[in-house]
């Protein structure tokens, strides 16, 4: 139980852990929900939730305003990379009074704790949430061992 949590933590990265501690310290009820990364850096990180269901890894990511065509998901061995961009087109004839939703391009790489079956990965995008289901490869699944 303890090792599994540690694997997931390593996967998401120590740097992110540090950043989330900072977010907790600076949390204020009225802060717009993503003021992650600094204003100068256009490549921002992607809020992600990971659940290990035993047979697969389920990954949820917040990508509002991003269309399927603008998302790129690549898997290479145990390295999963999710990237994409969102354009903020100013409507014709309008000028901006307030801009909080930054035009963003994001990219995040994960080192998965086990091999996954790349051919049966399912990805769906609904209401701005990306859901990735990564089935573990046979060798990585939990198995029952019977004692004779």
């Amino acid at each position: 139980m303890l090792t599994r949590w540690n694997e997931i933590e390593k996967m998401v990265g120590a740097m992110d852990l540090f950043r989330s501690h900072f977010d907790k310290a600076l949390w204020r009820e009225n802060t717009p929900c993503y003021v992650r990364g600094d204003g100068y850096d256009k490549t921002q990180s992607l809020p992600t939730n990971v659940t290990d269901t035993g047979d697969s890894l389920v990954l949820l990511a917040e990508v509002p305003g991003v269309k399927k065509e603008d998302l790129s998901i690549n898997i290479n061995g145990t390295s999963l990379e999710i990237g994409g961009s969102r354009k903020n087109t100013l409507p014709e004839g309008f000028k901006a009074n307030r801009k909080e939703r930054m035009e963003r391009s994001f990219s995040r790489r994960f080192t998965l704790p086990y091999e996954v079956d790349a051919d049966s990965i399912e990805a769906s995008l609904n209401n701005g949430i990306l859901r990735l289901i990564l089935p573990k490869s046979e060798a990585a699944r939990p198995k029952q061992i019977t004692v004779h």
């Binding site: 949820l60 309008f94 307030r98 701005g128």
Partner: protein
């Protein structure tokens, strides 16, 4: 051993009432506001929300937007960076908005509100009549 890493919840002020304990954490959605001669356009990021859970109310010069997101938090999650929240934000709207003609659209987790200005509020050129 606590496996989940939860989103921080804002600390309740003073005594914690029953409703505060069960209430979802509140989050302010990021918005863009654009203006043209005849309308305002408001775009709000509400990822993970379903259309039925959004409520938009205009009353006494205030536009209040609220939406609930559920289904992203899970007790079994190993790593959680975003949670089930209630998005809420209130804006003051000028008197010049024609409330009856406000239109809203929601796609890809982004809410798009079109707020037309009333005809009286639009800029008009005033020409001087020749005497």
């Amino acid at each position: 051993m606590n496996k989940t890493k939860d989103m921080p919840t804002p600390a309740p002020q003073g005594k914690v009432t029953e409703s505060q304990k069960t209430r979802l954490p509140r989050l302010t959605p990021a918005v863009d506001i654009y203006e043209s001669d005849n309308a305002f356009q408001l775009l709000a990021d509400l990822p993970g929300v379903v259309r039925e859970n959004i409520s938009i109310n205009v009353e006494k010069g205030k536009l209040s937007l609220s939406a609930t997101r559920s289904g992203v938090s899970s007790k079994e999650a190993n790593w959680q960076e975003f949670a089930d929240v209630e998005y809420e934000r209130i804006f003051s709207v000028p008197q010049t908005i024609e409330v009856d003609r406000i239109e809203a659209q929601f796609s890809d987790g982004v809410l798009n509100l079109h707020l037309p200005k009333s005809a009286a509020a639009q800029p008009r050129k005033i020409s001087i009549a020749t005497a």
